[in-house]
């Protein structure tokens, strides 16, 4: 993911998983793993790095699953207009 094209750093993300986009006023909720992934991506990590951290933190045995989940998540972010 090209973070130059991303608005993720601008998002307000609370500990409850509530997300506010100050540019559009849209709000979202993410679950615990989504919250973790979003924080990683907001911090500028690549999708691959995010998947690795997700796998380690949530003890996901199959690295492919974590990678696929992060890719799906990024697609959802794209649908929401948060990354290009």
């Amino acid at each position: 993911m090209d973070h130059q094209q991303s608005r993720l750093p601008d998002l307000a993300l609370s500990d409850s998983g509530f997300v506010f986009d100050p540019l559009t006023g849209h709000t979202f909720t993410v679950n615990l793993t989504g919250q973790f992934a979003l924080r990683c991506l907001k911090d500028g990590m690549s999708s691959e790095e995010t998947a690795t951290r997700l796998g380690e933190t949530f003890a996901i045995d199959d690295g492919e699953d974590a990678g696929r989940d992060v890719q799906d998540f990024v697609l959802q972010l794209r649908d929401c207009g948060l990354v290009r």
Binding site: A12, F20, P22, L23, T24, G25, T27
Partner: protein, 367 residues
């Protein structure tokens, strides 16, 4: 973050005390003033009906008066405003309704001489910002608007529909807008708006997308004093925002700046902007020459535009630098049954005046 400003001890008259499910901006303008502890003045509510809810909002207006309808003409309004100034006081006047604005602006030099200050746009600016002249303004300000036409006859609708495509957005010259899926609906809407607000009736191409609103204040020299952008989160069945959230969107503020700069707008305004859901382009759909009904949000978010308008009208300085407003601040409207007494209604219904209550300042609520 709070900014210490010298106290204002002035009497501010505010029109638009109607606050139904299609509320006028008067009550929220008054609430914005009361929101700031530096406002220690009195508020005279001006309305058109003895049952305008703002008259009954305890702790909000110190006194009130019924105005003659705009159709009664300029002389009737002039006489009534003079009476209000002499009897109830009126150091500043903030008109909040499109239908009365032109007359108020025309009267403003006389009001100024009599000691009532305003901070209003010129008649020329209002005309240039009107729905009818929006296409010309779009060229001058280099902003986009949906393709639009001003119609004076319903017989033009089929041709307009061919040119602009269906559905059409049909708009009254002052108020109201509806989406017409076909020519028959557009014709019915045309007649409804023509009967209510007169001609022309404006038709626009329908652009699917999301609406944003910017409330702003211009200094009359081409500069934006301040602006607050908002997205409506819930609409009533009349399409009015029932709750919304302040947002931080530089594109919207740039568009607003272009409008204010081009018109050299002086005073309050609202720019309604549509973002095309597919292309992401922004289109200005309307400019309202006054504060919007959601303006209390500006005070809640930390940039109290009505208070700044009063300060500018009185020639008082603004805080420098101006505070940044807090994106993420919400407004959620509520419908409240206000308890009053027959005596209040009697005053307004029988005499058209709500006399000041000597103990009023004890009841003032800074909300």
């Amino acid at each position: 973050m709070s900014f210490v400003m010298d106290a204002i001890d002035a009497t501010v008259a505010i029109t638009g005390m109607n606050a139904t499910d299609n509320p006028a901006p008067g009550v929220p303008v008054a609430r914005a003033l009361r929101h700031d502890p530096s406002f220690q003045g009195r508020i005279v509510g001006l309305g058109y009906d003895a049952l305008d809810p703002g008259f009954y909002a305890q702790g909000l207006v110190s006194s009130g008066a019924i105005l003659p309808y705009p159709s009664a003409g300029r002389e009737a309004l002039r006489a009534r405003l003079r009476w209000v100034r002499e009897e109830l006081g009126m150091d500043v006047l903030i008109p909040n309704l499109d239908s009365e604005l032109r007359t108020m602006v025309a009267l403003s030099p006389e009001l100024e001489l009599e000691g009532t200050h305003t901070f209003l746009p010129s008649l020329e600016s209002i005309e240039r910002a009107s729905k009818v002249n929006l296409p010309k303004l779009a060229d001058q300000a280099d902003i986009d608007i949906p393709p639009s036409e001003a119609l004076v006859s319903a017989s033009s609708i089929p041709e307009a529909a061919r040119r602009l495509g269906l559905p059409l957005v049909v708009k009254g010259v002052y108020y109201g807008a509806t989406v017409a899926a076909n020519e028959a609906d557009a014709t019915a809407a045309f007649h409804r708006f023509a009967a209510q607000w007169g001609l022309p009736v404006i038709v626009q191409s329908y652009i699917p997308g999301e609406e944003y609103n910017v409330a702003a204040l211009g200094d009359g020299k081409g500069n934006l004093v301040g602006a607050v952008a908002m997205r409506k989160m819930m609409l009533t069945d009349k399409g009015k925002g029932w709750c919304g959230v302040a947002i931080d969107n530089p594109d919207l503020l740039r568009i607003c700046e272009a409008v204010v700069g081009t018109l050299r707008w002086r005073g309050p305004l609202e720019v309604e902007i549509l973002k095309n859901g597919r292309s992401g382009e922004y289109f200005v759909i309307e400019i309202n020459p006054r504060f919007p009904a959601w303006i209390h949000l500006s005070a809640g978010a930390g940039l109290n535009l009505p208070l700044f308008a009063v300060r500018l009208a009185l020639g008082l300085p603004l805080p420098s630098p101006l505070p940044r407003y807090r994106a993420g601040t919400l407004f959620v409207r509520i419908s409240v049954d206000q308890i009053s007494d027959l005596a209040t209604f009697e005053q307004l219904a029988a005499t058209g005046v709500l006399r000041p209550d000597p103990a009023f300042m004890e009841k003032v609520s800074h909300v």
